[in-house]
């Protein structure tokens, strides 16, 4: 095996095609988009060079700034919830259900395989009011409350979007973290128990530190996917009411394809890339410091 990978020709033959496809489909468009962010217009009206004007526009565009915050807040809340719920589930699998967790694991994981748009339509109907009132409001009515139109307010829409995200993805993070927990040697936990560490203390001082690497990767993974949230918020309420739950991705899409403003849309895409990069770097830095300590 070592001889095979030591041969440059082999490496070239094995990696070459993939690399070419990757560069053509990924790097070239990204560079192209980067270039476009200095232009104004679209393919039909033609492009005019505007220098950094699009960047100036981004920081003075109230909708862009609002979208930036929607993306950040959604990413923070979604990641926090996903990881905490996933971790709690993983602990449940390992310490409470033990060998019998297979069924629950599958059941909780199941929503992950459903298309996001279908899930969003499901939740739309769950919280709907009026002619076709959904079960959530029926329950509220049952307890004497008045029907709430969740999707008419930003907070309501955001809350529904978050619950939806938790429901559909916590099973995935639970499985991811579960495998991390399985890697902790039984002897370590056993000896900690003998030393008198139980329950919360065991989790806090033994389990969490030992599963830190997988926890960090889960957080990075989750951040990067939730920062790029698009389909769930689009299908749930089209980024509304108003533009109050429009994330950067959706705003970018609308700018490019509904308003035919490719240049500015590329600028928004670039800002999103920078944002993802910053988040990843921040997490890596804090985690490497922790690993040293």
């Amino acid at each position: 095996m070592k001889r095979v990978f030591g041969d440059r020709k082999t490496i070239l033959i094995l990696l070459g095609p993939t690399l070419v496809i990757y560069v053509l489909l990924k790097i070239v468009p990204v560079m192209w988009s980067l270039g476009l962010s200095f232009f104004d217009g679209n393919s039909l009206s033609g492009f005019t060079f505007t220098g950094f004007a699009n960047f100036g526009r981004f920081f003075t565009d109230p909708i862009a700034i609002q979208s930036l915050w929607v993306s950040i807040i959604f990413a923070l809340l979604a990641t926090g919830g996903q990881i905490i719920l996933g971790y709690l589930l993983a602990l449940l699998y390992v310490f409470v259900l033990r060998k019998g967790s297979a069924f629950i694991r599958t059941a909780v994981f199941f929503p992950m395989v459903l298309p996001t748009v279908a899930v969003a339509l499901l939740f739309r109907n769950l919280v709907s009011v009026g002619q076709n009132q959904g079960p959530i409001n029926d329950i509220i009515n049952l307890f004497g409350g008045k029907s709430v139109e969740f999707l008419a307010s930003s907070v309501g829409t955001m809350a529904v979007a978050l619950v939806m995200t938790y429901w559909s993805s916590m099973g995935f993070y639970a499985v991811l973290l579960y495998t991390g927990l399985l890697d902790i040697p039984d002897e370590v936990i056993e000896s900690a128990r003998l030393d008198g560490a139980n329950g919360l203390r065991l989790v806090r001082h033994i389990v969490v530190p030992l599963s830190m690497p997988i926890l960090i990767s889960s957080i990075i993974f989750s951040f990067n996917s939730t920062l790029k949230v698009f389909d769930s918020l689009l299908a749930l309420n089209n980024g509304g009411p108003g533009t109050s739950t429009t994330p950067l991705t959706l705003y970018m899409f609308q700018t490019a394809f509904n308003y035919s403003d490719y240049g500015y849309a590329s600028t928004i895409a670039l800002m999103l890339t920078i944002l993802c990069l910053l988040f990843t770097l921040a997490i890596f830095r804090s985690s490497s410091r922790k690993a040293e300590a």
Binding site: L25, V28, P29, V30, W32, S33, L36, N42, S43, L44, S45, G46, F47, T116, V117, L121, R124, S128, V129, G130, Q131, N132, Q133, S147, E149, L151, A152, S153, S154, F230, D231, L234, A235, N237, N238, G239, G240, P241, G242, T243, S244, T249, F253, Q254, A256, F257, N258, Y259, S260, Y262, S266, A269
Partner: protein
């Protein structure tokens, strides 16, 4: 849902698409050839791009191809393509930049105006000039022609529909409550109050699509400030933040706060709203004359077509507008590509102008902007009523967003849910919209 799925796919390849588009842009930089539009070359087929949401048009053109226009179809066979309404601007922009526009295609409102992307590049045929050459200009109803010209700034769309908009109402409920057709906005509000007290929803409202709500703001503006009110805003002669414009937004906000649109209207979709009206749960519904296809469908219309009435948006006390200025539109823009406009395409155009009006009315009860050249019998009652109203119209007005750019239109419609739920003041709503319009100048 199909739209959403395709959007999802689209964003996945959006980066790649941007590249492709840009590559294509390099090759088709030169444009303007509108001067000698008629000298185009016939393509291999009469390709027509229509919206998924409008299957009627596709079906009727096919019917023409096998019937009245079979000779034209033999010379140049009809080929249908469709696109989701929401993706029209994107698809047409792409096709145009790749020099691959179909002969006859749907386009976004702002694209075909003289300053729009297609208009600027000479990619839309001037129908008035060509139809006159073909000797069939008379086949376009003057009202429809003037509506097309006032929306798009030039005669660049064929009026496959000629819609008027107003308030559909349930005569039975009105009779039961002893109400008559209101002629002023105050009367309308008073009636709505009585209807609500009687346990009906006053206005079935498709708040999810938002336009039925913004239309009310527009109509109020046209009634209070006259038919040129929105043009004045576009020309910079007036601002949406002027007190009278803000008052329109406030009036509609008040309607929502009074519960006249029904519970949960913000997330109610078109099908649910139509159903509420046609099953007698709601007494009124603001919609266009295209609702006729639902009303004439016996399986949908439970209240009976005799019980359906249509009234214009009422007058506003002391306003400059008049109740008989109906809001009208001529459907989505259906343009023709001048580069493909050869003699055979011309024959197709002539045949459509000659025959479409009668066919659409006979087959689907659609009132179009084409003259009806054959007598059509067995027209449904509600269709007859609309036809009568259309023929009596002297002056029409546009709709709220008609002259706005794509982004301002989207802003007007997305923010209206914030306005009606009281999360945004009428003043803020109008000032954000004005800022959007200003930014596009």
């Amino acid at each position: 849902m199909i739209t959403r799925r395709s959007r999802r796919t689209l964003v996945a390849v959006s980066l790649a698409a941007v590249t492709a588009v840009t590559l294509a842009a390099c090759s088709s930089g030169s444009g303007a050839s509108s001067g000698n539009a008629a000298s185009g070359k016939d393509p291999k087929a009469f390709t027509v791009l229509t919206a998924n949401e409008n299957p009627t048009l596709t079906a009727e053109l096919k019917e023409l191809a096998s019937g009245a226009c079979s000779a034209e179809n033999k010379a140049l066979p009809l080929k249908s393509q469709t696109v989701a309404q929401a993706d029209v601007v994107q698809k047409v922009t792409l096709l145009a930049s790749q020099n691959a526009l179909p002969v006859h295609f749907i386009a976004g409102t702002a694209m075909v105006t003289p300053s729009g992307d297609l208009g600027k590049n000479g990619l839309v045929l001037n129908y008035e000039k060509e139809l006159k050459k073909l000797g069939v200009w008379d086949d376009i109803l003057p009202g429809a022609a003037s509506t097309v010209t006032s929306v798009y700034g030039q005669m660049v769309s064929l009026p496959y529909q000629y819609n008027i908009e107003g308030i559909w109402f349930n005569k039975k409920i009105f009779d039961k409550l002893g109400l008559s057709e209101p002629t002023t906005f105050d009367e309308l509000m008073a009636d709505a109050g009585k209807i609500k007290d009687a346990g009906y929803t006053p206005f079935a409202t498709d708040g999810k699509d938002a336009w039925p709500v913004t239309r009310l703001i527009g109509d109020y503006i046209f009634r209070s400030m006259g038919p040129d009110a929105m043009k004045d805003v576009q020309d910079g002669k007036a601002k949406l933040t002027d007190a009278k414009y803000v008052k329109a937004a406030a009036a509609v906000q008040q309607m929502a706060q009074d519960g006249y649109f029904g519970q949960g209207f913000v997330s109610t979709d078109a099908a649910t709203a139509t159903n509420a009206f046609l099953t007698g749960k709601a007494a009124m519904m603001y919609d266009g004359s295209w609702l006729l296809s639902n009303i004439n469908d016996k399986s949908q219309d439970i209240i009976g077509s005799d019980n359906v009435g249509l009234m214009p948006f009422p007058a506003v006390a002391g306003g400059k507008g008049s109740i008989d200025q109906w809001p009208a539109n001529a459907g989505a823009a259906m343009a023709m590509n001048p580069k493909d406009y050869g003699p055979k395409v011309g024959q197709w155009l002539k045949c459509i102008a000659n025959n479409y009006g009668a066919l659409a009315l006979k087959k689907d009860g659609v009132v179009s902007g084409f003259k009806i050249n054959k007598t059509v019998t067995n027209v449904d009652g509600p269709t007859k009523m609309v036809q009568k109203k259309v023929s009596d119209i002297k002056q029409t007005v546009l709709w709220f967003e008609a002259l706005m750019d794509a982004k301002s239109t989207s802003l007007a419609q997305s923010n209206v849910s914030l306005l009606t739920t009281g999360q945004m003041t009428p003043k803020t709503y109008m000032s954000q919209l004005q800022a959007g319009i200003d930014a596009n100048k």
